[in-house]
């Protein structure tokens, strides 16, 4: 079982994920992501891009990207760049983590999304049974 958590100051189901972005950094960084059943794809927002992955603000400007995806959400449209990603989800018993390869959407920095958390969307969640019991329990189990 892979457990997540809630924080009193941030009432959303959260989970720690080891994220490796090989085109950005050779480090696997531990990222706190929202378990977002409303997102089709996982996304890294600017706070994690700059703080956790050490990216510069200039590199989060879509003007310097080769390709850009425009995606819609309740907050409006935003630009993203798709980059390769590997996800590690850590089991409670400390045994070998679940590793998933794929991509992640890297968000262009805007005044509106600077403070948003990164999102774990259905591209990853579709591989798991999701168990939510109010704020008492957030768990994922590999299908």
């Amino acid at each position: 079982m892979i457990s997540g958590f809630w924080l009193p100051q941030f009432p959303l189901p959260l989970i720690r994920v080891g994220v490796n972005l090989p085109s950005i950094s050779d480090r696997r960084q531990l990222v706190v992501m929202v378990l977002d059943t409303g997102a089709t794809r996982s996304a890294i927002h600017p706070l994690d891009a700059m703080h956790t992955f050490g990216m510069s603000a200039a590199s989060l400007d879509s003007a310097v990207w080769r390709t850009t995806n425009s995606s819609g959400g309740v907050g409006g449209k935003a630009n993203f760049m798709t980059v390769p990603a590997k996800y590690a989800l850590y089991r409670d018993d400390g045994t070998t983590p679940e590793i998933l390869g794929g991509t992640v959407e890297l968000a262009e920095m805007t005044p509106q999304n600077q403070s948003l958390p990164s999102l774990l969307g259905w591209d990853v969640l579709q591989h798991f049974r999701i168990i939510l019991e109010g704020q008492n329990s957030v768990r994922l189990q590999r299908l």
Partner: protein, 86 residues
């Protein structure tokens, strides 16, 4: 310090410690620095920079000699209840 699948960066002990700090101090930080990004030294737990803009915060940290990726933890501290529609 290089993270691997089995040993990510930061490690779980450090992540737990940082998370505990933010949870225990969030109310006080929210009162002092409402709606600002706050950077806290990982070594001393002292607030070393705040700003309403993330880019300016990170630039300011570098000017002060901090590595924003490894020397501090950064979070956005909302003035009140935080409602997100993701």
């Amino acid at each position: 310090m290089r993270g691997t699948a089995l040993d990510p960066n930061p490690g779980f002990d450090e992540a737990n410690r940082v998370q505990r700090f933010w949870t225990e101090n969030y109310a006080e930080l929210s009162a002092r620095f409402p709606d600002r990004f706050v950077a806290v030294s990982r070594a001393t737990n002292e607030v070393v920079a705040t700003n309403k803009d993330l880019t300016l915060l990170v630039d300011g940290l570098r000017d002060k000699g901090f590595d924003p990726q490894t020397d501090v933890s950064i979070d956005f501290v909302a003035a009140g209840e935080r409602n997100l529609f993701l």
